[in-house]
């Protein structure tokens, strides 16, 4: 069951909400609706589901309604129509008291400009969510300290937000959100106010934390690089509408419309980088020397489910899967050539990144990068996305 389920959620700013909604139903654009009804459609019939443990990125340019959408989800802004289910409970229908309970227990929010209380210390800021729940001083201090340790600020308890750098302040914002131990984190452009280097550190840190926390994260951003880097799935918004939802690869490979295409085009890395620049050193076995046992052992060591096979001159011969090697070992097959699959997805070293998407998308195994038939390296799926998102590991020698 999805932990967040948003159904047909709309927000109209202005007086003539009914007329505006009808126009929206009729498929008019935001501008047309504004002209005809005098009301602005902030969010236009958004529907999506987020699974537990997923990082779901909502991305769009300013004015696309993404910040409104995230505020509709915890009802900082009242929805005009539609339903918001958190854990099966419909927030849209809740009274104030129930809503408060859900906000306290299930939803936490991280703000673009941090939203820290300047008159409270770091510890007191982190405690805030627990304090309003009436949790005892001792317990909330302990939980807040744990959360601050988690983000690496365990020694700044008695400082005030004004004494900390932007990156550190946002860590406090994150710690405050985590101290409640919510199921869902709403992050509204959480890293947009930080300078690019710090932003990247924070993205990495969030991903590291997510490894252990497994929270459901709804992340709002206007930065495609950021979306590609951290999102398990991405929803693209324009003029209050969600135009496409998909994995980073889906969006890059199959842009749903011109708008998405244009957006994706801006990621010029896809055209600049080549296969050679993002490939990794391959694990191989030599078809002339090794048998299934060596192949299995190497796969186990490197944590792979398949391994490439080369000959003495490093010419690519094929690939062996762990299953096949295991089978061969049981059946006392000694020669790799009996179990090898010759058909390996292969690209030349000069293939641009842009052309890798389609190949890697359909391939269950890593791509082999070759030059005149000789194996140079491999490319795993993550490396393509990572390279697009500007992750540092680009091979300079190419």
């Amino acid at each position: 069951m999805p932990i967040i389920k948003v159904e047909n959620l709309s927000k109209v700013f202005g007086k003539n909400t009914k007329a505006a909604l009808q126009l929206a139903e009729a498929g008019k654009t935001k501008e047309e609706i504004l002209k005809e009804s005098g009301s602005t459609v902030g969010v236009n019939r958004a529907s999506f589901e987020v699974e537990a443990g997923e990082i779901f990125v909502i991305m769009g340019l300013s004015g696309s309604g993404k910040s409104t959408l995230v505020r509709l989800i915890n009802r900082l802004i009242e929805p005009t129509t539609g339903n918001i289910y958190i854990d099966g409970e419909n927030l849209a229908k809740m009274d104030k008291k129930e809503l408060r309970r859900v906000r306290r227990e299930k939803l936490s929010m991280v703000f673009q400009r941090f939203g820290l209380f300047p008159n409270r210390t770091i510890l007191q800021n982190t405690e805030y969510g627990l304090e309003v729940q009436g949790i005892s001083k001792q317990e909330r201090t302990q939980k807040a300290k744990e959360a601050l340790e988690l983000v690496g600020l365990g020694s700044y308890l008695d400082q005030y937000p004004g004494q900390l750098s932007g990156g550190m302040q946002q860590r406090v914002g994150l710690a405050r959100a985590l101290a409640n131990d919510p199921e869902v984190l709403l992050m509204d452009e959480a890293f947009s106010a930080l300078d690019p280097l710090i932003r990247k550190d924070m993205q990495d840190e969030l991903l590291d934390l997510q490894e252990t926390m497994k929270k459901t994260i709804l992340f709002i951003t206007h930065d495609l690089d950021e979306a590609l880097r951290i999102g398990d799935r991405i929803a693209l918004m324009k003029d209050g509408k969600i135009v496409q939802i998909g994995t980073p690869e889906d969006i890059l490979v199959n842009p749903a419309n011109k708008f998405v295409e244009k957006f994706v085009e801006d990621v010029d890395r896809a055209k600049v980088l080549t296969a050679q620049q993002i490939m990794k050193r391959p694990e191989t076995v030599n078809i002339e020397k090794h048998g299934p046992r060596v192949a299995l052992e190497r796969m186990r060591e490197a944590g792979l489910s398949s391994i490439l096979v080369v000959d003495g001159k490093r010419t690519l011969q094929g690939i062996i899967t762990a299953d096949a090697a295991n089978e061969a070992r049981k059946n006392e097959v000694k020669n790799l050539s009996e179990i090898i699959q010759r058909d390996v997805p292969t690209v030349e070293k000069d293939t641009p990144l842009h052309d890798l998407f389609a190949v890697i998308h359909d391939s269950p195994v890593p791509l082999a990068v070759t030059e005149n038939g000789k194996l140079l390296g491999i490319i795993v799926r993550g490396a393509v996305i990572g390279a697009l998102a500007g992750e540092g590991e680009v091979n300079e020698h190419a």
């Binding site: 900082l76 309970r101 906000r103 929010m109 400009r113 820290l116 209380f117 300047p118």
Partner: protein, 284 residues
Amino acid sequence: MLDFMENVKEIPVGDWMTDFVDWLTNTFAFLFDPIKDGLASFMSIITQGLAAIPPVIFILLVAILAFFMTGKKFGLAVFSIIGLLFIWNQGLWDHLIETFTLVLIASIICIIIGIPIGILMAKSKVAETIITPILDFMQTMPAFVYLIPAVAFFSIGVVPGIFASLIFATPPTVRFTNLGIRQVSDELVEAADAFGSTGPQKLFKVELPMAKYTIMAGVNQTVMLALSMVVIASMIGAPGLGREVLASLQRAQVGPGFVAGLCIFVLAIIIDRFTQNIYKDKSK
């Protein structure tokens, strides 16, 4: 056009007001009388208490307080000593205490009334729409006009003086409280809401602490306005330095009038600097 106006009878607003105040006086006499007696005796206790402190000790206490409140600077402390010694020297010490009590009590009541009204205005658009013109009215209506109903309700003495001060001096506290709360950044209010604060939690944990410097600026204004009412209130029998000024005016005595005025000035500076320093944002 002119003919037309001649044919229209004068609207008896003045008569209505007279009737209204009469009605209030008669109807709420059971309220006004105890308030008057209670407040008057309460104030005389305060006045006597303060007057019982020997001036030397009083001046020293003020100076010490000034020294620490201004962040261990000598300026205000020295001014307080010289100024208060001057007032003592002029034989106006008792009047000073009376005036101080009047200002103190009036200000406290203003704050007690003003801050909740300011909060109400900040929270409700409707309340703001209704109260704003009332505040404008209170501030622009000449202060002398309040004296008439004040006397009707509370006869003469210190209590009607306080009443008139209240009307004149409350608006800044109300306005600044409203402003201060409305100025709290949206994101902080959202943060308070997003973590599930109740209304009072949001108010006391976030909005009032964030607004306190603005509110204190309003309180400072209120105190200064209350002090400025001292002379006017003396026309309906409020005691203190104002009465000295009024007496000098009536007898056309330039000298004593100037001295009493100077004493009010000294008191004003001391009170102003004190209230400014109570909640000065030390981090800025």
